[in-house]
């Protein structure tokens, strides 16, 4: 399949993928200066490696792959046991058992969200939202960021992540259940 956005014009990379890569890195390293540096390193490495770009993947996927290695290198330098494997889903089980009982009923019943508008005005809420996103499974975090926060269309998500639309529904459903659960536990207004 021909990749989408397959442009090796490095001038456009920063505008097109910079914010996405930055927000992804920030979820992992939780330090914005470090995240900026990792994005820069990623682009520089990508320029060097541009010849080896395989048109099997999209530019965004390729850049994200380089970024993951940079993040993993960073953790290794710190002596932390977070290796590349932790940034990629090993065997993503899509079981919904942590959310639903065998009869399909809720395990943790969703509450009505208390005054949503007020929440969005508070710094504390955004801190918790960020933590909840960071707690998602790798693939869920990537798809949720791309789709909901950076506004990527369903069609582009399918192409870019090589997912069927059914895969995307499943990933989004799980991400939303996790986020909703996480906010319920951590956001006390």
């Amino acid at each position: 399949m021909a990749p989408k956005n397959n442009d090796l014009n490095t001038q456009t990379w920063l505008e097109k993928y910079g914010d996405y890569l930055f927000s992804y890195a920030l979820l992992k390293v939780k330090d914005s200066h470090l995240a900026e540096d990792l994005v820069q390193e990623t682009f520089l490495a990508a320029i060097t490696a541009a010849n080896s770009f395989s048109s099997q993947s999209s530019i965004r996927t390729w850049l994200t792959g380089i970024l993951k290695h940079k993040i993993s290198d960073h953790f290794r330098r710190q002596g932390r046991e977070v290796l590349i494997d932790d940034l990629v889903d090993q065997n993503e089980t899509n079981s919904l058992d942590i959310f639903f009982k065998a009869n399909g009923g809720w395990i943790n019943k969703p509450d009505a969200f208390p005054s949503p508008e007020a929440a969005l005005q508070q710094q504390e809420f955004w801190k918790i939202f960020q933590q909840c996103l960071a707690g998602l499974k790798p693939k869920q975090a990537e798809v949720f960021l791309a789709k909901e926060i950076h506004g990527m269309s369903n069609a582009d998500i399918c192409n870019d992540f090589t997912l069927s639309s059914t895969n995307v529904w499943v990933i989004m459903h799980r991400a939303r259940l996790s986020l909703s659960n996480c906010l319920k536990i951590n956001w006390k207004n």
Binding site: F22, S23, E36, F100, P110, L120, W169, S180
Partner: protein, 81 residues
Amino acid sequence: MLNCKQASQLASRAMDEKLSFWERAALKVHLFLCRNCTNFTQQLNFLREASRRSRFNRNFQLTAKAKQRIASAMKSKQDGN
């Protein structure tokens, strides 16, 4: 009759695309009878709104300064190549 697991799946999918007539009808009936799933549906809308706004939050966007710095680093890298 849908259970909550199925209803939550449909409610999530409805955020991204139009459901079929029967799916919509089944979901509507379930939501009419189920407070929990109605709450979940509200949360879905809330998550959408929070995500939409967070796009312009500093956690999800490079600052202009950082962009400039990265752009010039990329440029000198390319000129060097």
